[in-house]
């Protein structure tokens, strides 16, 4: 039988509006044929028409016959809330045929995905041919990009900013044709920085330096160890079927923060986790395309302890990871905040010294985590800033949107803060321990 709790059900809501509408119909009279077992929850919603709403708890995944594409829709939310609230509404454990078919398809897809993960190759010779062709394509793309960067510097950023969009589009198209989508995305970011003019000059040059470094690394990739080559391929935009990386030994992780955003029809979720009792961080990135009704995985509540298998994407830079939770749908276990505080750095300088060493070893990451205790809010040049016990002051990142929440939670007292930084200069608070309670500060823009 389903062990879904109300809080978990609510955490799957794509936006507050759907949650509110779901709450309104979370009553027995709004559904019939409600059923649930260990795998799924289902029921027929009685709206302007009747809709079969289904939840696959292994995932979780959602399906409803209503026309709404944003899943879970209100019918599914209502159904989950109803079942979570009162199990007595469940009438049967016999899955309807439509549900069985859907679950069957999902199982087949999961097996296929697993095979792909384990690196099972059907035709090694053909694959090697394809890989060689792609490598040659990327070589050509990287060469074109290097020339473009040199060209931008020859004419100067001031003139490059005035260039027609076509010039930038052409480079991006070329990179896409060369199957180097990762580089194309970075060029788009560079174009946006150049367009912002004088205020972003240093950031623009830093982005150009990063791109150049990536191009140079690609050109010299054969001198790098296999794991670094593999990661380089990922950065360029080439997802390879690599030999599987062993799951991490640690099977208990604390969710530190959960940032969600909705942009260009895409939901994304960035979850930062901390090894329970350790000092290692892991970052999960989830994406879901809104127009096809995909939804982000729920259950990653900040301050909770999750058990499961975590696999880092790269041994070179063990930050990005995938996580298969065992208790995502069980009653959340609130993590004891004291151990988090215990592993935090006590000064900003110590934290950044460690972090800069990691940056030197792996200069391509766009977010570096740091956990610092005994911070306080101060004013620096008219802006809100963070200071530690040594009176070291660091400014908050311009991207930080929860300043008021931070002020509200922190007040004039000291606190422990989990932050990320892109360049080691500005800090982006993600979550923090305020008066013994862990609070999320990460961006939550899911289109509400």
């Amino acid at each position: 039988m389903s062990k879904l709790t109300k809080e978990q059900a609510e955490s799957f809501a794509p936006d507050s509006g759907t949650l509110s509408r779901g709450r309104k119909i979370a009553k027995p009279s709004a559904y019939r044929d409600i059923g649930a077992d260990d795998r799924a929850i289902w029921g027929t919603a009685l709206g302007s028409s009747t809709y079969l709403s289904m939840v696959d708890l292994h995932g979780p995944a959602f399906k409803c016959s209503c026309p709404v594409k944003k899943l879970p829709c209100k019918h599914i939310m209502g159904l989950m809330l109803l079942v979570a609230d009162d199990e007595s509404v469940i009438e049967s454990e016999q899955q309807p045929e439509e549900l069985q078919q859907w679950l069957g398809k999902r199982d087949t897809a999961a097996v296929t995905k697993q095979n792909r993960k384990t690196g099972e190759v059907k035709d090694p010779e053909a694959q090697a041919k394809r890989a060689a062709k792609r490598e040659a394509n990327i070589d050509a793309g990287v060469e074109a990009l290097s020339l473009f960067l040199e060209d931008v510097l020859t004419v100067g950023l001031a003139d490059a900013g005035k260039r027609a969009r076509d010039v930038w589009d052409n480079v991006q198209r070329r990179l896409v044709d060369a199957q180097a989508g990762g580089l194309a995305n970075r060029v788009e970011n560079l174009r946006e920085l150049v367009a912002q003019g004088a205020g972003k000059t240093e950031e623009t040059l830093a982005a150009m330096a990063q791109l150049n470094l990536l191009c140079r690394s690609w050109a010299n990739r054969h001198t790098l160890p296999a794991e670094q080559q593999a990661h380089l391929c990922q950065l360029v935009g080439w997802k390879q079927n690599l030999a599987p990386i062993q799951p991490d030994a640690c099977e208990e992780w604390i969710v530190l923060s959960n940032g969600r955003r909705y942009e260009y029809d895409l939901y994304s979720q960035s979850v930062w986790m901390l090894e329970s009792g350790g000092t290692r961080f892991a970052r999960l990135l989830h994406f879901a395309k809104a127009s096809i009704g995909a939804s982000l995985p729920g259950g990653y509540a900040p301050g909770c302890c999750l058990q499961g298998t975590l696999t880092f994407h790269s041994a070179w830079n063990p930050i990005r990871a995938d996580f298969e939770g065992r208790n995502l749908l069980a009653t959340p276990i609130t993590a004891d905040p004291e151990p988090i505080k215990a592993v935090a750095n006590t000064s900003l300088v110590t934290a950044l010294t460690n972090l800069q060493q990691q940056r030197a070893a792996f200069p391509f990451s766009d977010a570096w985590p740091l956990l610092v205790a005994n911070l306080r809010l101060v004013s620096h040049a008219g802006q809100l800033a963070l200071a530690d016990d040594d009176n070291t002051v660091m400014l908050l990142d311009e991207e930080f949107r929860a300043q008021h929440k931070l002020m509200q939670l922190a007040g004039p007292r000291t606190f422990t803060l989990f932050m990320t930084t892109y360049d080691g200069q500005r800090l982006l608070p993600q979550a923090g321990l305020f008066e013994g309670i862990w609070h999320n500060l990460a961006l939550d823009e899911t289109g509400d």
Binding site: P28, L149, L153, V378, S379, N391, H404, Q408
Partner: protein, 538 residues
């Protein structure tokens, strides 16, 4: 923040390499040697490489330097209003705030002397509800006041562009019996003169909870600096303490009022006339020689058992001296100027003078006026008069006449007049609530505005009245539901079980019961003791 790249290098990158003669001069020597020109196909390629190396080198080596003591933020001010505990705050976050409305929400928090949860207040300060900045700051917690003190853009949104008034206003709310310090008094006087009407109304309401002597002292203190609008509000407060002014303790203040120079503002002059006439009536000074009696006797006579009314055709100096003016007294009513003059005289006279002029008791006199040829025009003035002279015994009679009147302009006139008077003084609110309870005039408190005004005045119906109230209505505004005193689990509004074949009425009733339960749970949450008095974030 220092640049990662040298100034010259940045300048070269912005202007273009074509204008840069010597790349070696732009970078440290060790980098120039590392990237020898012969190893690169072009200067641009070499520059890109040099820039990348320097950027990485500097970026990775840079650490924040411990500096001088940073500019510390101010300490958190002392908490004045009791905050809700964490659990209650979470419950409040789930409430249908838009449904409740800002004014009722605020009224409940202020009546309970509770700090508004920070999430709600911050939302309002960030502009979630237009024009609500002052009102969200008024019941702000210590943390919110601290945030306001370090967030200049928020303080600028307040109508006085300063948050200095919040603490004095909260002290006034928490300890209405304590003397205001001269500093607090000065801040409040200045705020009253400068702030927007919504805040001014609340501050005056808070002042009205003080003792009559304190109110009088405050009025005298700010009279000379106050604008007409504020002076009119202050006189309304004095009308609320007429009984005290008429007593020996209030003689000094009464004398001061009578010696005030002639007021230029019509609204203040009218209010002063109402106040002084009321005082005359209480002290028996309205004899047959008094100007008001003489003026009224020219307009009202008894002929053949009926009231014969003659409206003044001219606004004479005598009438002006009595506070009569040719201004529109009731916004929606289309009353001619003579009728309005007559109405103002009737309002000033009150039931005591009506009965003397018509030679009958107050009930009969009121009935005669309501049956006269000016019956419709006089109705709002008679209503006004009942509030001013506290003649509750006639209220039901006037109430019925209003509802029986076939003039559409009188729809809601009772609510309008009641709101005006209830807002003016909290004693009037209690008096009006008593009349409603006694005479069962429930309709008057179902409207959003009148119920909101009663709520703001701190009125709450008794449990017995609340139950009786429920018998009469199956829908009402959230503000009026908040006036009720019932338990959220009271079986009186236990909903019927939901069924597939329920009628529209049954569904409406169930929704209504749900609204009452929400309202009562809201009140209970406010009145239950908080788990922590200080440090609301503990």
């Amino acid at each position: 923040m220092a640049h990662l790249l040298s100034e010259e290098m940045i300048r070269a990158a912005v202007a273009g390499l074509g204008q840069t003669a010597d790349l070696d001069s732009l970078v440290p020597e060790h980098l120039a040697q590392l990237c020898h020109a012969d190893n690169f196909r072009s200067g641009a390629e070499r520059f890109l490489q040099l820039m990348t190396l320097q950027q990485l080198e500097q970026s990775i080596a840079r650490l924040p330097a411990p500096g001088d003591a940073p500019a510390e933020l101010p300490a958190e001010p002392e908490p004045l209003l009791t905050p809700l505990d964490q659990n209650r705050q979470a419950e409040f976050a789930r409430l249908p705030r838009q449904q409740i409305g800002l004014q009722p929400l605020l009224a409940c928090f202020l009546a309970a002397r509770r700090a508004l949860p920070d999430d709600i207040a911050i939302d309002m300060l960030r502009g979630a509800e237009r024009g609500s900045h002052d009102l969200s700051a008024l019941p702000g917690s210590a943390r919110l006041r601290w945030m306001l003190s370090i967030t200049p853009e928020w303080s600028k949104q307040l109508s006085t562009q300063s948050d200095a008034w919040i603490a004095p206003a909260q002290r006034l709310l928490c300890s209405p019996n304590d003397e205001l310090t001269s500093d607090d008094e000065q801040v409040l006087i200045q705020t009253l003169c400068e702030c927007r009407p919504a805040l001014r109304a609340w501050l005056v309401r808070l002042l009205g909870r003080q003792s009559p002597a304190q109110i009088s002292r405050f009025v005298r203190g700010c009279w000379d600096t106050a604008k007409a609008e504020l002076r009119a509000l202050l006189v309304q407060q004095l009308i609320g303490i007429s009984e005290w002014l008429a007593s020996p303790q209030g003689q000094d203040m009464q004398q001061w009022l009578r010696e005030l120079p002639t007021e230029r503002a019509t609204s203040v002059r009218q209010q002063l006339a109402l106040l002084l006439t009321g005082l005359d009536a209480r002290t028996g000074r309205l004899d047959e020689e008094s100007p008001l009696y003489l003026a009224l006797s020219e307009c009202i006579t008894l002929k053949a058992g009926k009231a014969e009314l003659q409206a003044p055709e001219q606004l004479t100096p005598e009438l002006t001296a009595l506070g009569v003016a040719d201004t529109r007294a009731h916004a929606n009513s289309d009353i001619s100027k003579p009728a309005s003059r007559l109405g103002q005289l009737v309002r000033l006279g009150g039931p005591t003078l009506w009965s003397r002029l018509l030679d009958c008791n107050a009930d009969k006199a009121c009935e005669l006026l309501l049956n006269s040829r000016y019956q419709d025009e006089l109705l709002p003035f008679i209503l006004d008069s009942l509030f001013l002279h506290r003649e509750g015994s006639l209220f039901k009679q006037v109430y019925q006449a209003t509802y029986e009147s076939d003039r559409p302009v009188y729809t809601g006139i009772i609510e309008q007049v009641a709101v005006q008077h209830v807002n003016a003084h909290s004693d009037t609110a209690r008096w009006f609530a008593d009349i409603m309870e006694r005479d069962g005039l429930w309709q008057a408190a179902t409207e959003e505005a009148s119920a909101g005004a009663l709520l703001a005045a701190g009125v709450r119906l008794t449990p017995a009245t609340s139950r009786a109230w429920l018998q009469h209505f199956d829908s009402a505004s959230f503000a009026s539901l908040l006036l009720l005193d019932l338990a959220s689990n009271d079986p009186a509004f236990a909903p019927h079980p939901e069924s597939d074949d329920e009628t529209y009425e049954q569904r409406s009733h169930r929704n209504f019961c749900q609204r009452i339960r929400t309202a009562m749970a809201f009140r209970e949450a406010l009145t239950q003791p908080a788990s922590t008095m200080q440090g609301e974030h503990a």
